[in-house]
Symmetry: D2
Subunit: 140 residues, 4 copies
C-alpha cells in the first residue's frame, strides 16, 4: 500500500502527560494516536465531528503500541498516521511517534475501529467519507 | 451547618496520576473531587447515574483547590465530601483530601454546580434527590 | 501455565474516564491495566513502590487491548491480572476487564515490561521480587 | 498591571478530553492552564524545562476555574495566560479560555505557585527567570 497518505500532526508533550518515572505515561500514546487519526481525517477535508454528524462513530476494537524510546516533557513530536486497512465497516490506522529534533521513532502502534450508527450497531462508512478514506488508503 | 454529612471515600493514588515532579499532578485532585461527590450521593441511596436518568445534570460552574502537601504514588487517601450550600438549582460541595496513614489534610477545595435539564437549560433538583440533598446538607 | 495467580482488583468507572460517545475512552483501559498489575504485586506482599525503592523500574515496551463491550459510567469492574511470561529481565502481564454484575468480559489485553535500574539500563528483578513473581507465574 | 504580557496559546480540544455529558471534563481546564503558563514562559525565551534544570520547580498551591460556556470536541481555543502577581518566591497566573471562532470567554481561572528548590523547600526564582518574569508582569 505504498500510496497510502501519511499525515504528520505536530504535538508538544504536556507536563500532565508525564509520570514519576520522568517520562510520558504509556496510556497517553493512545490519546496521541487519536490526535493523529483525527488530523489525518482533517487533512482529507473532513472532521471527525462531521462523521459523527453524519451518524457514524468509530469505536476502537483493538489498539496496540510498541514503546522504543521514552518521550520526555516538552518534546516536540510528530504523530504520524496512515490507513493500513480499509473495509466498508472497519478501518485500521498505523501510527508512528517521531521526535522532531532527530526523527527518532519513539513508538509505533495501530488501532482498529468498527463503523457503528447512532444505535451503536455495525454500519458502513457514509459518503463522502468512504471515498475520501479510499483515496487516503491509496486505493482510490 | 454543623449537621452536614461528611462522606469519606477511600482512594489509592495511581501511577498515571503522578507527574515528573514525583507527586500527583494538580488537575487530578478535581477528578478525585468528583469521586467524593459521587460517593456522597451514593451514601444517600442514589447514584449520579440515577440523577442523569431523572433528566438532570450537574455541570461545574466553579471549582477550586488549595494544595497543602503533595499526595504521592500509592498513597491511600480519604476523599471527604460534604454539601456546603444548597439551592433548588445549585449545589456547592466542600472537599478535603486526607492521607489515611496520619490524617494529614493534603488539599482542600470546593465545586459549585448548576442543575440543568436534558436541554442543558437551568432547572431544579428533581425528587427524591432534593429531599436527600437537604438531609445531607443538615437542612432536612 | 495453569497455576498462574489471577488477581482481581475492584474498580468503579469514573465520570472523567468517559468520553462524548458515552462510554469509557479507550486509553483509560491501559490505566486500569496498571491498577491490575500493581494490585497483583501487592497481593504477593509487595508494592510497586517497594520495587522502585529497590532500584528497579518496569517501563512498558508493548501494550495492547481488545475491546469487546463498552464499559459505562459507574460500572463496577474487576481488573484481572496474571503473569503470562517471566524472564529475569522481562515480564508480560495478561489482563481481563470484567463487569461485576454479570461477569461479562469487556476487554482483554497484555503489557510487556523491561526491568531497568536507576540508570534506566536493562537490569534483572531483584530479590525478593523475582521469587515472588515466579510463584505468581506458577513457576515457583 | 496594564502592561502585563498576555500570551495566547492555540489548542484544539481532544476527544479524550470530553466526557459523557458531551463537553470537556472540568479537570482538563487545569491541564490547559499549564499549557498556557508554559507557553507564556516560552514566549519570554525560556522553557519550564530550563527552569527545572536551573534547580527550581513551581508546585501549585492554589488553583481555581469559573466555567461559563462549555468547550466542545474539536473546538479551537486560545489559552490566554498572564502574570497577575509576582514575588521572589511566588507567582500567580491568570487564565482565560477563549473560543477562536467568536472570541467567547469559555472559562477564567488562576493558579498560584511556590518556587521550590531541588530539596522541595521554599526558594526564589533564579536568574534570568526572575528578570524575565518581572518584564512579563509589566514590572520590569
Amino acid at each position: 500500500m505504498s500510496d497510502a497518505v501519511i499525515f504528520k500532526a505536530p504535538l508538544r508533550v504536556r507536563y500532565a502527560e508525564t509520570d514519576k518515572m520522568g517520562v510520558v505515561y504509556n496510556a497517553n500514546y493512545f490519546v496521541w494516536f487519536e490526535v493523529g487519526r483525527v488530523e489525518l481525517l482533517r487533512s482529507l477535508g473532513y472532521s471527525y465531528h462531521d462523521l459523527e454528524t453524519a451518524g457514524a462513530s468509530l469505536p476502537v476494537v483493538e489498539a496496540n503500541c510498541r514503546y522504543k524510546q521514552s518521550a520526555l516533557y516538552d518534546d516536540e513530536l510528530w504523530i504520524c498516521a496512515s490507513i493500513a486497512r480499509l473495509r466498508p465497516g472497519l478501518i485500521t490506522f498505523n501510527y508512528t511517534v517521531e521526535r522532531q529534533s532527530d526523527g527518532a521513532a519513539l513508538a509505533e502502534g495501530s488501532s482498529t475501529h468498527l463503523v457503528v450508527g447512532r444505535d451503536m450497531k455495525k454500519s458502513r462508512f457514509p459518503e463522502p467519507f468512504w471515498t475520501a478514506f479510499q483515496k487516503a488508503a491509496g486505493l482510490g
